[in-house]
């Protein structure tokens, strides 16, 4: 087991800091889309489409239903794109990783730093969306203060998955596959825009819960913002909390370690 887990030191944060400093240099460019996107979604789907939905969704209005989804989506996109396209540019075009590996920082630390940065971007984007959603009056529980924490760990999960794809990519166009075959289906079908119970199929619900990480992040966000966890497949709310947190923790650890191994194999011949 000790051979499987990468040896990491504080130098991981030196890599993180490099990315953070680039981010703060272009703060406005980074903040504006993160701020505008949820406003547009809430306007189109919440206010617009929501007006056509007369019944309640999970005991609330439609706009209340999609508020937490938008945070989870921002988390997914923020970290996934950071550790696919952006990491690939740093690795392949800018050769930034090669430059850092020539210093006392190890290749494992470079990748871990990239992953933690991807998670941080998710936390930043998620927090911006939380502020927007709160401004629309869609937060009803103080547990929502934990949203940035869930955003960070959910982000770490998507960053780790993304980095595995980056390790497999030989060109930047490769990312079209995971984006359209993995990210877009999750964006639409993870209990984001309609409750999964509407599928009336325990098989499909179970599939969504087991292979689509976004489902768990959406559930957690919805639970934190409303103060109560939704039930699936007859599971109690407590079981749902444990399932979501446990699923994210386990899968994140697995793919975090896998991403580092795959990238090491790619970078060190």
């Amino acid at each position: 087991m000790t051979g499987l887990l990468p040896k990491l030191t504080y130098r991981v944060w030196l890599v993180w800091r490099r990315n953070f400093e680039v981010f703060t240099k272009t703060l406005f460019v980074n903040f504006l889309p993160a701020l505008m996107e949820p406003i547009l979604y809430l306007a189109a789907f919440g206010v617009g489409l929501g007006a056509l939905i007369t019944g309640t969704v999970n005991g609330g209005t439609y706009i209340q239903f999609i508020g937490p989804s938008l945070i989870a989506i921002a988390v997914m996109y923020g970290s996934f794109f950071e550790c696919t396209y952006a990491s690939f540019v740093r690795m392949y075009y800018q050769k930034t990783f090669d430059a850092i590996i020539a210093t006392p920082v190890s290749v494992e630390e470079v990748i871990a730093g990239e992953l933690l940065w991807g998670a941080s971007r998710a936390a930043i984007n998620g927090t911006i969306v939380l502020a927007v959603v709160a401004a629309f009056g869609l937060v009803s529980s103080p547990w929502a203060l934990l949203v940035p924490v869930v955003a960070f760990f959910g982000g770490l999960l998507f960053a780790s998955l993304a980095m595995c794809f980056t390790a497999l990519a030989s060109t930047i166009d490769f990312f079209n596959f995971p984006t359209f075959l993995f990210i877009t289906p999750m964006f639409l079908l993870s209990g984001t825009f309609f409750p999964l119970q509407l599928l009336h199929s325990p098989v499909l619900e179970g599939a969504a819960l087991s292979v689509m990480p976004l489902t768990h992040v959406v559930d957690l966000m919805r639970g934190l913002m409303s103060g109560s966890m939704q039930s699936f497949l007859g599971l109690t709310p407590t079981t749902m909390w444990v399932l979501a947190v446990g699923w994210i923790a386990g899968v994140t650890l697995l793919f975090f370690v896998l991403a580092i191994h795959l990238m090491k194999r790619k970078l060190i011949k």
Binding site: R11, L14, R17, R18, E21, V22, K25, Q94, K95, T96, D98, A99, I100, I101, A102, T103, P104, V105, S106, I268, K269
Partner: protein, 306 residues
């Protein structure tokens, strides 16, 4: 060579990539304070050797130590005492010139104030002071090269690795880099440089290792190698089959070699050149100083594959 302390030692050093042997059981030493050149054509194994020294590539077979530390187990300590100027431009385009040096210093745990001071000094040393706030995109090829060398020195390395430091530079840029390498050598930095330019190796290196096909085929001091393998001067003349036959038959003391469409005559004594000129008064001939290229061509028996 200021002392006989061995800084880098390779024994049977080998690197294979998917069945291809890029470096094939080589032995060499680098002593403290010397400037050693790895000279050879593209694909000879120069860069691969350098990359193993700075622990970027794992060793396939054999032994490689830097300051007595094994590259396979002490990578972190070794990388801390080495400065690397790689062949590819891997400056950070997301940062300005000064910030590139400061961020890089942080990877070596150089304290912030010290890094700022050292960045300023290095930029001055490499004539980049006016560009300190410029973006990387605003630099010419020569400036980028010099900034990469400045970056390689930010941790005050004991050993400087320069992988093709002048490839792609114009003559002016090349000479600037040469001057700076000479300056560093005077300051006592141990330097390893790779090049496929013969004149560069002759101008900068105390000692050169001629590499071809992953093997070291000759080692020595540039001017001694030239004297030993090519003599003082070389006579060049356009290829002519009859003439080559006649020269070989009538002047057994001369070495006559054909390289493509050119015949080169190597001789220990100058008298031989006079005899050649007398025998073929109608031919246009050139007599020039022998150089490392002659050594290389004689040793490998073929043209550079550049």
């Amino acid at each position: 060579m200021n002392s006989s302390e061995v800084l880098i030692r390779a024994r049977g050093l080998t690197k294979r990539f998917n069945g291809l042997t890029a470096v094939d059981h080589i032995d060499f030493e680098v002593y403290k304070g010397e400037c050693v050149g790895f000279l050879g054509p593209n694909g000879a194994g120069k860069t691969t050797t350098v990359r193993m020294i700075y622990c970027f590539l794992p060793v396939s077979e054999g032994e490689l130590t830097v300051a007595g530390l094994n590259v396979s187990t002490e990578a972190r300590a070794i990388k801390g005492m080495i400065g690397v100027s790689p062949q590819d431009d891997n400056l950070d385009p997301d940062f300005t010139v000064t910030k590139n040096l400061q961020v890089y210093a942080r990877y070596f745990d150089v304290p912030k104030e010290k890094a700022a001071q050292r960045a300023g000094e290095l930029l001055k040393f490499f004539s980049l002071g006016e560009k300190k706030d410029a973006s990387i995109y605003q630099l010419s090829g020569g400036m980028k090269r010099r900034l990469i060398m400045a970056r390689a020195l930010i941790n005050e390395p004991r050993i400087l690795l320069l992988d093709e430091p002048t490839t792609g530079l114009d003559p002016q840029g090349r000479h600037l880099v040469w001057d700076e390498i000479r300056n560093l050598r005077k300051q006592g930095v141990t330097i390893i440089l790779t090049t496929h330019y013969m004149d560069e190796a002759a101008a900068l290196c105390d000692r050169i290792l001629i590499v071809d096909n992953g093997k070291i085929i000759q080692t020595g001091v540039p001017h001694e190698l030239i004297k030993q393998f090519a003599g003082e001067d070389v006579l060049e003349v356009d290829y002519d089959e009859a003439m080559v036959k006649q020269l070989k038959a009538e002047l057994p003391d001369a070495e006559v070699e054909v390289f493509g469409d050119q015949v080169r005559v190597f001789a220990k004594e100058h008298g031989i050149f006079e005899q050649v000129i007398k025998k073929f008064p109608d031919k246009t001939m050139t007599i020039r100083n022998a150089n490392l290229e002659d050594v290389f061509l004689k040793l490998t028996g073929r043209k550079l594959r550049e």
